[in-house]
Amino acid sequence: MPSRELLNFQLNGHPVSTPCEASRVLLDLLREDLSLTGTKRGCDLGTCGCCAVLVDGRPTLSCLTLGRLVEGRSVTTIEGITPAQGLTPVQRAFVELGATQCGFCTPGFIVTATALLRDHPHPSHDEVVRAVAGNLCRCTGYLRIVAAIEKAAEESA
């Protein structure tokens, strides 16, 4: 039997203690073991960004991150970003501007954009484009995604 030591970390602001094999990636841990399905599985290869979460506040591809590596750290998923009521400015702008179509890539973009605006409340256009360059969207052509992030930045200003 592979070892399933307990892994301890902060998940969306609350302590979690869960068994985690050494080879288990964070994406599986979140989706399968902890039933947080907002984080999406697009490629398992770090090429699409659908599985982005924040680890200690930094956008991180959960499909390439071993669960054990978040021991003692803080993980924020799309569920942790979403307020109990209503939407964040980024989420609201995505809906209003049509930056989400099929929606499968959207949590990854929201996570990435949320981190960007926290660190750079007034990003330039190029900074926004660069920030989401690791996220793949096949529906929108990205224009509305970039516009939504810029709109959210303006509104928060």
Binding site: R41, L45, T47, E79, T100, Y142
Partner: protein
């Protein structure tokens, strides 16, 4: 002459954010893989490592004996062939007798967990005879040693051959003032949706089977499950959760969906099959690798005299939509210009490669590129502006093509005018410095296929049911599939528009074959047009019930009433009336909850010759795009700076969705023209990942200026036509022709990669042809 002002609407025509948007931006939208059933097993597929092989014997004893394995399936248990088109059922759930490509499913297991399933697959032993690999369709047009399918034409690998001739093409070329010939070569491309396929199936002791699947066409899946599994349709329930993009790739009933259901039947337990990205690439069904050969003749006045077209289409291992593909690669040349003489020979050939199928702007994209490049060349040779040449040849409204397509509304000429003006064409064409250029590309596309794929039993193309109870919430049932294009939102908006109610009253129910009336699903850009008309008809019925009840309560003739916002009142006098809820409760008093059903059926159009139905549609969209590009002549890199997209989708009912479709289409079109390619060594796909199959990144997107110039279509719902596929087509030739303007090289092989740019430049210089001083 009387002129009419088009009506305006409360909701329709404006930007309408997606009703499920808040679920998607919070991760709460439920996709198939987000569902977990109690006791669920893991289904895994074994894929053929051989491009073509006879399966002599399969030993599954060891796999079956593995602890934690609940079932091992091979092909012989469910051998009934299926396929999306009733006339070409050539797929089986699992390979029977032969494997036909690297990636073909040859066995499946259901096990307690992923690791056990993978271990069991590794224990299955095969004895096979290797058969010849057929990677190049050119090798399959003559008799072959071992046809991939017994149904290939006369011992060849030809799946479908189409020969059509209208008018007299040879005579037209004989009297032509000028003609050109362009031969195009197109790599295969794939959909690249972000959600990998996933299916869950569960057989229950009441003798029913429930299947959740990421599908664009729940009804065809429903039919195929019934046919292959031998269960009546009413014992099967198909549910479509949220779908993370399709673009045609989830429109065939797919073998893994049937395998998953079979494993559920075998084990009595829920089974989930979740694809990884490699599975998605091997399943493919993307745009066909194609070679085409287009000759166009003009008379001395610049009028098109004739098209002479040939196409060789690489089908991969199965038919899929291939018969339609073969027709479309010719007949979708019939617009947007008048073509009085037309000849086409198209062949789709099976190869031992992942199957190609329907991908956004199916059948219309590769042909259009070659035609538009040929027209650009003709404009140059005859000293005409590319816009003028196209305008002078445009099909007029209410006309018929030589193969009897009925063109009703067209604002193509308005598209040309808008794109020319907005792009500043006249100041730029052939006037920008070397390395920079503008190009024009045009297109048209069907707004739904006039003939449904399934026409037995006879039924409408689209049906919508409404139910409203005393709470005033309106439940909408429909089997159209929202795959991100916004059809649920449009459905809700149409119902709210007709009934005059707040959009929040309308709840669109998830597709569930137990309760959703049949709609043929999301492909061929049919949904806005057909479902939209069905939704409107259903809502009008409900409205009539409400108005009748209100008239009785108000003691006024029904004709004197009209619907206002959340109110039914005397025409022009909002104070005399009832609120929506009052009218609803009055109408419900004798009958309880109100229900209504609306449907849409296409009218018969088209000729009576063989294949006449292919390409007929109740309406067509039109497009004229200008691309402005810059080429780095040192590295061969192409930068598309801006695209002006003039589009005629009739009335745009949801501006946000239409603009999103156009921008997304441009992105996908740019992918095909600039870099996407399914790369093969022989029959082996060697880039089955998003790392090596390069979809354009955010920084590669140009600025896009959208010009919606369509006039209301007479038959579309509230004047609308399609905007989901047509917007892709014009992107490719606009870029190709802009590159010619930039550096004087005609690119006829896609994708146009930097090495091809450099080779093209070298070739032109070697020919001694000077372009803009270079």
């Amino acid at each position: 002459m009387a002129t009419t002002t088009p009506p305006s609407y409360r909701l329709l025509g404006g930007p309408i954010p997606y009703i499920e948007g808040p679920l998607k931006v919070t991760g709460r939208a439920e996709y198939t893989d987000d569902i977990k059933r109690p006791g669920q097993l893991v289904g895994r597929l074994l894929r053929s490592p051989w491009p073509h092989a006879r399966l002599k014997s399969i030993d599954v004893r060891e796999a079956r004996a593995t602890p934690g394995v609940f079932a091992v399936l091979t092909g012989e248990k469910y051998p009934i062939p299926f396929g999306v088109l009733p006339i070409t059922h050539d797929e089986t759930a699992i390979a029977v007798d032969k494997a036909r490509y690297i990636g073909d499913i040859i066995a499946a297991v259901a096990a307690s967990d992923e690791r056990t399933a993978e271990a069991a697959l590794a224990k299955i032993r095969f004895e096979v005879d290797a058969l010849p690999e057929y990677a190049d369709p050119r090798g399959g047009v003559d008799r072959v040693a071992e046809p991939i399918h017994a149904r290939g034409l006369n011992g060849t690998n030809i799946q479908k051959e189409v020969v059509q001739h209208f008018g007299d093409v040879d005579a037209a070329f004989a009297r032509a003032a000028v003609s050109v010939r362009v031969r195009g070569t197109f790599a295969g491309v794939t959909h690249g949706f972000t959600e990998p396929m996933a299916t869950i199936a569960e057989a229950t002791p009441d003798g029913r089977l429930t299947v959740w699947s990421a599908t664009q066409v729940p009804h065809y899946l429903h039919r195929s499950l019934s046919e292959v599994l031998g269960l009546p349709m009413h014992r099967i329930r198909v549910i479509k959760p949220e779908v993370g993009g399709g673009f045609g790739g989830k429109s065939d009933p797919l073998p893994h969906e049937i395998v998953c259901a079979a494993l559920a039947l075998e084990t009595g337990r829920p089974v989930k099959i979740l694809f990884d990205r490699e599975d998605v690439f091997y399943t493919n069904h993307g745009r066909h690798p194609t070679q085409n050969d287009v000759r166009i003749a003009l008379d001395g006045d610049g009028r098109i005299l004739a098209y002479d077209i040939e196409a060789l289409i690489d089908g991969g291992a199965w038919s899929s939509f291939g018969t339609v593909t073969t027709y479309y690669n010719g007949v979708l040349g019939m617009g947007p210009y008048r073509v009085p003489n037309f000849r086409y020979k198209g062949r789709r050939v099976y190869t031992t490669k992942p199957p190609s199928g329907a991908m956004r702007a199916h059948g219309g994209t590769n042909l259009r590129y070659t035609i538009e490049v040929a027209l650009d060349e003709l404009a140059e040779r005859t000293g005409r502006d590319p816009f003028d040449l196209r305008r002078e040849n445009a099909l007029p409204p209410n006309s018929r093509t030589v193969n009897e397509f009925l063109i009703t509304s067209t604002s193509f000429v308005a598209c040309l005018a808008a794109a020319r003006k907005a792009s500043g064409w006249d100041a730029k064409f052939r006037k920008l410095p070397f390395g920079r250029g503008v190009g024009l590309g045009c297109g048209f596309y069907i707004s739904g296929s006039n003939s449904p794929i399934h026409f037995t039993p006879k039924m409408p193309q689209s049906t919508v049911h409404l139910k409203v109870d005393m709470d005033g919430g309106i439940a909408v049932h429909s089997m159209q599939a929202d795959i991100g294009q916004g059809s649920n939102t449009l459905l809700a908006a149409i119902v709210a528009e007709v009934l005059g109610v707040d959009l929040a009253r309308v709840h669109v129910q998830r597709v569930d074959s137990d309760v959703s009336p049949i709609d043929l699903g999301s492909y061929s850009s049919r949904v806005t047009f057909m479902m939209g008309n069905a939704a409107r008809a259903a809502a009008e019925q409900l409205k009539a019930q409400l108005v009748r009840a209100a008239a009785e309560r108000l003691q006024l003739p029904a004709e004197e009433l009209e619907v206002g916002y959340e109110r039914i009142h005397r025409r022009g006098d909002p104070t005399t009336g009832l609120s929506f809820l009052e009218a609803l409760h009055a109408a419900m008093e004798p009958v309880g909850a109100l229900t209504a059903s609306g449907s849409y059926q296409t009218k018969a159009v088209g000729g009576s010759f063989k294949g006449a139905r292919a390409g007929t549609a109740p309406a067509y969209s039109f497009a004229a795009y200008v691309a402005e590009t810059e080429v780095d002549v040192e590295t061969g890199e192409i930068h598309v700076e801006k695209i002006w997209a003039a589009f005629d989708c009739g009335r745009a009912l949801n501006r946000l969705a239409v603009e999103g479709q156009i921008e997304g289409s441009i992105h996908m079109g740019l992918g095909q023209v600039l870099g996407e390619s399914m790369n093969y060594r022989g029959a082996r796909l060697f880039n089955p990942s998003l790392l090596e199959y390069k979809i354009p990144m955010p920084q590669q997107m140009p600025e896009v200026e959208i010009l919606l110039v369509g006039a209301d279509d007479p038959e579309g719902p509230f004047g609308a036509k399609e905007a989901g596929e047509g917007p892709l087509i014009a992107t490719l030739p606009a870029v190709g022709n802009a590159l010619y303007d930039a550096i004087g090289v005609r690119f006829t092989e896609l994708p146009i990669t930097p090495d091809r740019v450099l080779r093209g430049l070298d070739r032109r210089r070697a020919e001694g042809r000077v372009w803009k001083g270079d």
